[in-house]
């Protein structure tokens, strides 16, 4: 299955600042997905990133708050902008890797906003 490297693994940020999370896949993939996992909650899809086109955002998530880049078939970034304590969550990237492996996830970025 695909191996996903996600950086940083954790960060503590001041409110009003921005953090960019990187996701690197060891193989070329068409779609990359970004999820948020709030404390005690399940995973919620933020957006789907295709190479060469703008990301598609789910209801409740907007590009100004969560801009995404997808410069090539192995890399994507998610920026959390103008952060508030409510943005404290784990952020995960994911790729689809065929029927035997399902959707593979990175190890996540644990973000705390103070």
């Amino acid at each position: 299955s695909a191996v996903i490297s996600q950086k940083p693994s954790r960060d503590i940020c001041q409110r009003g600042t921005s953090l960019t999370i990187q996701c690197q896949v060891d193989s070329q993939v068409t779609m990359m997905f970004w999820y948020r996992q709030q404390p005690g909650q399940s995973l919620t899809l933020i957006a789907t990133a295709n190479q060469g086109s703008e990301a598609t955002y789910e209801s409740g998530f907007v590009i100004d708050k969560f801009p995404i880049s997808r410069p090539n078939l192995t890399f994507s970034t998610l920026t959390v902008s103008n952060m508030s304590p409510e943005d404290s969550s784990i952020y995960l990237c994911s790729v689809e890797w065929g029927p035997n492996y399902g959707y593979t996830f990175g190890s996540g970025t644990r973000l705390t906003v103070v």
Binding site: S42, F105, S107
Partner: protein
């Protein structure tokens, strides 16, 4: 609206005490039902995909089954290393993967 509901929220078992986790779903046009294991501080680890009612898959002490309305993750003779949160997710033709809130499993030696 597609929904996935998992029960119980938390389960505490003695080592060797078999049990089952439940995942009920209302997903229109289900394309796949996924099970994941998530350890603290880590991303979800893929376990199984089930595609049609009646399908079963096994991996070590885990067996996943699927009916038209729900899926079960059976854990046989669990060990402490099976302690984790188990997530269920449904995929339909029109919406992205929808996750349940998970079952936190603790296996006590």
């Amino acid at each position: 609206e597609d929904q996935v509901t998992q029960s119980p929220e938390a389960l505490r078992l003695q080592e060797g005490e078999s049990s089952s986790l439940n995942c009920s779903y209302t997903v229109s046009g289900l394309r796949g039902l996924f099970w994941y294991r998530q350890d603290p501080g880590k991303g979800p680890e893929f376990l199984f995909t089930l595609y049609s009612a009646g399908e079963e898959k096994e991996k070590e002490r885990l067996k996943a089954t699927l009916t038209k309305k729900e899926s079960f993750l059976h854990i046989t003779a669990p060990k402490p290393e099976d302690s984790a949160t188990y997530l269920c997710a449904g995929l339909s033709g029109n919406t992205p993967l929808v996750f349940g809130k998970g079952t936190r499993l603790s296996v006590i030696a």
